[in-house]
Amino acid sequence: MKSRIGLQLILAVAAVSLTVFGLLSNFLINSQHRSLVTQMEQHAEQITETIKRSTRYAMLRNRRDDVHQIIDAIGEQEEFTKVRIFNKEGEIIYSPDRSALGTMVDKRAEACYACHEADSPLERLSTSRRTRSYTDSEGRPNLGIINPIYNEPNCSSADCHAHPTSQSVLGVLDVTMSLDKIQQQMAANRRKAILLTALAIFSTSAIILLLHQQLVGKPVRQLLQATEKVADGDLTHRIEVKRNNELGKLQTSFNEMTRGLSEAQNQLYQSDKMASVGRLAAGIAHEINNPLTGVLSFSSLLLKNATDNSELRADLEIIVRETKRCREIVKGLLDFSRQIPPRKTRVNLNKTVKRALDIVDHQLAVKNIAVTTTMKEDLPSARLDSNQIVHVLINLLVNAADAIGPRGGEIFVSTDLEEIEGNQMVEVKVADTGCGIPLSEQNKIFEPFFSTKEGKGTGLGLAVVWGIINEHNGSISVTSQPERGSTFTILLPTNGRMELSEKSHDHERRA
């Protein structure tokens, strides 16, 4: 078995079951044994009484043969090992075993010991003291019981041999019974108990093993595999959560952690990439500015002087126009790379959205695009650079219009309030019914120079958008289905900063 916890659990349960069942069975078997022995004792007591009563008359009449006959008849029964009567002196006077007749029983023998323990023999004993258990020379268990035969007026007055009245005990009836059967039964019971205990331990272990596998082993194995995958850098792996117990919750929170990590990593990767691309762009743009100054100055100078050559003038106009276009691209690049720090003021996002919509309203109407707005009422004001956010929204709206194309369509703009990791965020969504973005391109669209507009755009629009949202400590994401449309979601902290990220920075600094 792979799982050590499972093994430990089973061993512990087995040990506990073994102890509990063992003690319980032992207790039950012992008490059963005790009650059987008590029954046996009572049975023996009754038998001795019966023998005494049945031989009484023969004894009174001193008809010894009759007594012998009775003793013999009883002794024949299998359950009796010994039936004998000895007189006060210890001489066996009746016994089915004729050879024993006349032999003396030692007062120290187990049958006599109870009374003859002290110097002067006891005359009356309780039943329990009159019985004895012992193992005979052949190793068989026996129960012996003695029943004293007391002197009676009839005995002392009988004319036969007349026991003197001073004698209180005339002799002793000693019956010994075999405990073999009880012993066998007990052994059988013990075997059954052991078997049942073993069965109980086995079935409990099996159930625990099964439950452990299902409730602990499997989810823990999944978690283990998932952590290994995450450690290997795969942040897309998710555990399939099947139960809602503690481990299920652990799995869910693991999934959430991985998702959070993945998002954070993605953000970090994006901002890293943006920063390096920004530096590159700034370097290139600055280098290009100087030669561009030469081209633009000299071409515009030529254009000025080419007043009387219309053909040359037309060509030069193109050169000047296109050089000025280069100038705008470089300006855009520099704007992107500089990521001008936002000048934040308390602004109602609804008003900012309204401003953006007002600007592109006409443009959208001309393209046969219907705009539906759903503004969240009582939206708290947020600290943001209204101009930059308007720039972002116009960019998204114009992109949406381009995605919709000449056939027309719909754009949905909505605002909302969200609470993310304890930060109050305002949300704005721009959704369109346009051509959508293929999945493979969705994480590239914010990269500088990535454009799907085939020469129409500079590929900087969304990169600048990303930069602005990043500078606002916000986030921008896209979901899209090709041919059905795209939805851009922007989240901006209302206080203009992220409490959590600041705390984590603190930790880093301290570390």
Partner: protein, 256 residues
Amino acid sequence: MSDELDILVIEDELVVQEAADRVLRLEGLGVDRAMDSESAVDMVRRNVYKVILSDLMLPGASGFDIIELIKTARPAAQVIVITGYATLENAIKSFQLGVFDFIPKPFDFGELLGVVRRALRYHELVLAGSVPSPLQADPAQELYALGQHTWALLDPEGSATLGVAETFPNQMGEVNSVELPDIDGYTTQGRCFVRIHSADDAVYRVLAPLSGQIMALNNRVREESELLSSDPYGDGWLVRIIPENLEEELCNLTHR
């Protein structure tokens, strides 16, 4: 004092030097050139220039250091910053150092000509001691200026009117056309928002003193460009905006 020379171009990039040289010589101006800060400082100490064009990024020193030195040594010289880093911060800092204007790279013939002509005329006014003091249109209103050329007037209703100072049209030649922004557009502080084209091919770039949404344009100046000089703080206004970030942007302006 030796004879005044016209122009000094401080620029480490040869093609930019050549472009400036070519454009300005065509105007009949004498042009000296400096490739680095050392020779620039040397030339500024030896000669007196009317107008100095300077890059902000120079081998050996920051352009701001040279500008400071020029303004101390030759206060009458008008400095024009030519820069590939035309950020608001650079523009504000330049104006604080007393720079006449700045022109972002790459520029065309008309843009360079426009700003140099204005600087030369302003230089004449400075030498003549006849720089007009800015008018206060209405004492109840607040007038703020970006550099020496554009102003913003805060209206009590919360909007702001933007225009050019009287020094600006005075330095221009005959105005051919005034290029105003789109009515639904925006102005950004420190960025060009109006271009005035003169009859003699110069282009005068007007920098916005405040950022905001444009709510009204003074279309009269398109037809009657003389309003710019005759009533610069009144009928010669250019654009009315709803300012954004007013508080922060006012810090970059000078209160008149």
